[in-house]
Amino acid sequence: MSAAAIEAVGLTKRYKSVTAVDDLSFRVREGAVTGFLGPNGAGKTTTLRMVLGLARPSEGTATIQGRRYVELDEPARTVGANLEVAGAHPGRSGRNHLRALAAMAGLPPSRVDEVLRLVELESAADRRAGKYSLGMRQRLGLAATLLGDPRVLVLDEPANGLDPQGIRWLRDFLRAMAAEGRTVLVSSHVLAEVAQTVDDVVVIHRGRLVQQGPVQSLTAAGTGVLVRTPRPDVLRTALDRAGLTAVEAPDGALVVDGGEAAQVGEIAFAAGVPLHELAPRSTSLEEAFLALTTDAPPEVGP
């Protein structure tokens, strides 16, 4: 197993009677782009705040490169984090916001110009942050994360409020960061925003881990076989005897959970059931994500 750039063990955060994060453990691989996914209110931001030392866990620990955030010698040079949209005073220009942060981190003022160029915000750098569009504020936040040229990036919902061009820019940005070998943990409540970019996913729901692994693992559990027959009852009984579960879709097709198309075909042949359609079925990422993060399971469809 490769080294963990970020590791959470038993993270729990309680606010009076509400448990926002519940015994959450996960690992983020070094050099991988990991999507931290879950619906709104799942506990993503609270978790990231605990990882970054901004919130105290009720229980558990979170480490970055083996150390708690508060123990890092030069946090800005180790981790770049963007939890709030820019976090800049509305009356301060983007450039001055970055100048202040750079000074605090002991970085030269020239680094401010470099990161402004990286996020393509040079032309608006001297305008007050309060006048920025949401997309510009997101870019300013990303510029701040890059100031110390860190190897680990933690981005909380960076696609929030971005238009399609902005989302495309963000994807390219994340790809560029990944190509440089950086570790990126990026949270989102919309899988489609990050699905094309991430290597791994950590999916949480109601503060608990529901899935962790390569992005393909989301759909692995949802594979099956779609089959249409004029005699579904007979086929279902035959499949049952073979240890396979079939569910009838609203349009009358049967969805067989697991198994191979060839296996289902042979069972149907042995049972003397004619088939009108037989096809492997894979769940889309979005369906799998919804299935994991919706309290009521979605309707089974073809």
């Binding site: 901004l54 919130a55 981790v79 709030e84 301060r92 100048r99 202040a100 942060l101 000074a103 605090m104």
Partner: protein
């Protein structure tokens, strides 16, 4: 620590808040000096020192400057980026206080020069004894001391309270209403109130308490508020 102070100084300098409070301080000082001398015609040493006491005029303004600056971090949710760079909250708070004190001292030094340039020629035309060099030193030293201490207390109080509107109202109600009520109940207790100590330091002390004693009272206020702010801030989650 110097890096954090440099960053906090950039933050103070790059919004209009500091400029606004500096402008308000200037107006108050000009009004105090001109009205006190031209309309009040001071003719005793004490009255003449009081007329030049720019520190008394700006103490509350600088107390509010520190309060607004510290609460502004919470109001505009700008604290997280700084905490991510400097996770030690106490160091960050001390750096913020240092930056605000440096700014307040610069404002106070400028106002001291303006006060003397305007006040000395005007006082020369008034009756009574002239101020000695020691009187000027007390007024200037008191003004600078009160500026630094007032803004530091403001930052500590703002960090403790967080809510900007509540903090500003609390400062005003405390200093202008509640503390004078304390004086009605027990006159001697008034010597240890924040407002009285600010005025007394600004005027270089008086016959009830020396400058050093008044500075100690203000330091006690500052240390208590700073300790409370540091304790609360350390345990608080950052939004």
């Amino acid at each position: 620590m110097s890096r954090l102070i440099a960053g906090e100084l950039i933050k103070v300098r790059t919004t209009r808040t500091a400029l606004g409070f500096a402008a308000a301080s200037l107006l108050l000082v000009l009004a105090t000096v001109l009205i006190t001398i031209l309309a009040g015609h001071p003719d005793t040493i004490e009255d003449k020192r009081s007329a030049l006491s720019f520190g008394a005029a700006i103490a509350i303004v600088l107390l509010l400057f520190g309060t607004v600056g510290a609460t502004g971090e919470f109001r505009h949710r700008t604290l997280a980026p700084a905490v991510l760079i400097a996770p030690d909250r106490l160091r960050l708070l001390l750096a913020r206080i240092a930056a605000y004190v440096a700014t307040a001292l610069a404002v106070a030094a400028t106002l001291a020069v303006i006060t003397l340039v305007i006040g000395i020629p005007l006082l020369a035309g008034e009756k009574g004894p002239d101020l000695a060099t020691g009187d000027y030193v007390k007024v200037i030293a008191g003004g600078l001391l009160v500026a630094g201490l007032a803004v530091a207390i403001g930052v500590a109080f703002g960090t403790l309270v967080r809510n900007q509107v509540f903090a500003v109202i609390a400062v005003l109600v405390w200093v202008t209403i509640l503390e004078p009520l304390v004086g009605l109940i027990k006159d001697r207790a008034l010597d240890y109130t924040l407002g009285s100590a600010l005025t007394r330091v600004a005027q270089g002390g008086d016959d009830r308490m020396s400058l050093g004693g008044a500075v100690l009272v203000l330091l006690a206020w500052g240390v208590v508020l700073l300790a409370a702010a540091a304790l609360v801030d350390r345990r608080r989650d950052v939004d």
